[in-house]
């Protein structure tokens, strides 16, 4: 029975190929657009997510305040208001997972005939935890390296490529400034930061080594910044609050006075970036869905024309015993076949378009099963929804009127 009806639907569609094709085209374009837009949107979301993950999650940055000399204010971090002791105190707070005091600088580094100028980050091993940064070769330095201010270093991928080329850097000795450093390990690649900085162009050394042996420090124990990681995103607000009250207390800042440091929530920046990407992909999806809707209306339009055109045929079928549901099924099946076949072609074109976009522009696209499934079920629903009214109109025809129709 169902096969007989499928065959008839096929024949009816074949009887006017151009019209069937054009009707289907509405569906093809709709589904294709949805798949393409969702793939691009999800690709963008994934890129953002990846750069957020590369930065580390749930992060705060504490920057030392600025100094003011004869009215000229230094950059933030210019004052020596943050100390290693502050960092230790913060690490005692509830909800704080990792604390890494940072003493940054930059220097010329030399290995054999090669040299390179890069940023040097003096820090503690917990910096790697906070930024979820792995050591791919060799090993990280330890707390005891920090205590004894040993001359050891971890190098980023860009630095390794510039100094060593294809050579294995682990165990080699490089010169940073005037001092020799042994390379303990190579860091995993993190790629670009969200601001476009190459995060792999860096060398990590123990905090104390940077303070005492490389850059020196007028105020021993002071640091330019402290990176703080909260254990979950939910408690970031409470951690922020307790850090503020702790530091204000430690720095003896009176009620009503400004902080002598800056506290930045890095996740907030990342969240707003992620949020805007999400909204953008929603918007793309919504616009694409409109074309799916238009495709559905096209199906309804053509089916209504088809029912009118075939009124006499419907009358004949009723006269020889077709029930309402037989006629209903016949027209509904046609609408469903058009939308499902159109959907398949649209899926293929959308996927192809997404892959082409990736190949031509280098934009990351992600074709997920869920977006395909959504597009498909929406298309099938559209077919049933917009096919139902014309089909019911056909099924409700009066057989005598329909037979008389010329």
């Amino acid at each position: 029975m169902i096969f007989a009806m499928l065959g008839e639907a096929w024949r009816a569609m074949g009887a006017n190929r151009l019209r069937t094709f054009l009707t289907m085209l509405g569906m093809v374009i709709g589904v294709g657009a949805v798949v393409l837009m969702m793939s691009i949107g999800q690709g963008a979301q994934y890129s953002i997510k990846r750069s957020i993950e590369a930065m580390g999650s749930n992060l705060f940055i504490l920057l030392a305040g600025h100094t003011s000399t004869s009215g000229a204010r230094s950059a933030s971090g210019g004052a020596h208001t943050l100390t290693v002791d502050d960092a230790d105190a913060i690490s005692e707070l509830q909800g704080v997972q990792a604390v890494a005091p940072i003493h940054p600088g930059s220097s010329q580094i030399v290995y054999g005939p090669n040299n390179w100028n890069t940023s040097i980050t003096g820090t503690t091993p917990s910096y790697l935890d906070a930024r979820s940064w792995d050591v791919v070769e060799g090993s990280a330095f330890t707390e005891s390296d920090v205590r004894s201010a040993t001359r050891v270093a971890l190098i980023g991928k860009t630095v390794a490529e510039n100094l060593f080329g294809t050579e294995d850097p682990v165990g080699k000795t490089i010169r940073i400034g005037q001092s020799p450093f042994i390379i303990l390990g190579a860091l995993a690649s993190k790629g670009q930061s969200m601001s476009g900085r190459d995060q792999d162009d860096t060398v990590l050394i123990p905090l104390t080594t940077a303070q005492r042996k490389l850059f020196g420090s007028q105020f021993p124990g002071s640091v330019r910044m402290i990176m703080v990681q909260a254990s979950t995103p939910e408690i970031m607000t409470s951690v922020e609050k307790s850090m503020n009250s702790l530091l204000r207390q430690r720095h003896r800042i009176r009620e009503g006075m400004d902080n002598d440091y800056y506290l930045r929530n890095l996740t907030a920046v990342a969240d707003s970036a992620a949020e805007s990407t999400r909204i953008m992909s929603l918007l793309l999806g919504a616009i694409a869905s409109v074309s799916l809707l238009v495709g559905g209306i096209g199906i309804m339009n053509i089916m209504l024309v088809s029912v009118t055109e075939r009124t006499r045929e419907i009358g004949i079928r009723m006269a020889i015993g077709a029930r309402e549901r037989d006629i209903l099924m016949q027209f509904l099946l046609e609408a469903i076949i058009i939308s499902v076949v159109g959907c398949f072609i649209g899926l293929m074109l959308g996927t192809g378009g997404a892959l082409l976009t990736e190949a031509l522009t280098g934009t990351l696209v992600i074709i997920s099963g869920s977006s395909v499934l959504i597009a498909f079920s929406v298309a099938a629903t559209v077919g049933i929804f917009f096919g139902f009214y014309p089909a019911r109109k056909a099924a409700r025809l009066d057989p005598i009127e329909a037979l008389r129709f010329q």
Binding site: A15, I316, A319, G321, A322, R323, E324, P399, I400, L403
Partner: protein
């Protein structure tokens, strides 16, 4: 009358028109026994077509009772009426009414789709009937490729596919020349001899002569109902 195929009592049918209620049939009484071959005659607008629609379960009477095969048709829903049209009644139309997109074989087999017969049996039964009306070699031809007379044969075969008790023919020879018309009537004669009840609407005397009983309509009423007088002189 136990062997009655059609039993009509006090049947009236009115239509809503812009000029008010138009009575198409007025208090008709008609009994048709199994195996009868009856010709319905009368001028246009006399109510023949309305009667055929009601007999064919395409329409319902306004007042009165129509029993088909002993079963009161009034009060049946659309699906039950469709099932009667499918199983009990065969239609032959003046304009043949074949579906142009289908082959002859598929046209004949079409009613069987609506009662759930399997494909192989459908096509086998259709092929047998096509042979019976003398078009056994035309199974895969399309309706627009054959003559009117041949189309009418296919239409008869389609009407017979579900072994109906009653065959309703509305001017089956109206679109055919007289020679082809006679050929079609020969098929009706043969079918009637096999025991199928036939109700035929026609204008033509020589076609009506094939029936055994003549019912004349005028202005929505039956004005005469008598056996056919052979020799071709109408009563």
């Amino acid at each position: 009358m136990p062997d009655s195929v059609i039993g009509i009592e006090g049947l009236s049918k009115s239509y809503e028109t812009s000029a008010g209620l138009f009575p198409a049939l007025k208090e008709i009484n008609l009994n048709i026994a199994s195996g009868e071959f009856i010709a319905i005659r009368g001028p246009s607008g006399s109510g023949k077509s309305t009667l055929m629609n009601i007999l064919g379960c395409l329409d319902q009477p306004s007042i009165g009772c129509y029993k088909l095969d002993g079963r009161d048709v009034a009060g049946l829903n659309r699906d039950e009426l469709a099932s009667l049209r499918n199983q009990t009644i065969g239609f032959v139309f003046q304009g043949f009414n074949l579906l142009q997109r289908m082959s002859l074989l598929e046209n004949i087999a079409l009613p069987l789709i609506y009662c759930g017969v399997e494909r192989d049996e459908r096509l086998q039964r259709a092929q047998d009937l096509l042979a019976k009306v003398g078009l056994g070699d035309y199974a895969s031809s399309m309706p627009n490729k054959i003559s009117g007379g041949q189309q009418q044969r296919v239409s008869i075969a389609r009407a017979l596919i579900n072994h109906p008790r009653l065959l309703l023919a509305d001017e089956p020879t109206g679109n055919l020349d007289s020679h082809t018309g006679e050929e079609i009537m020969a098929i009706f004669d043969a079918l009637n001899r096999e025991g199928i009840t036939i109700v035929l609407v026609t204008h033509e005397d020589n076609i009506a002569q094939h029936a055994h009983r003549q019912v004349r309509f005028f202005d929505g009423r039956i004005v005469s109902d008598q056996p056919t007088i052979p020799t071709g002189i109408s009563a």
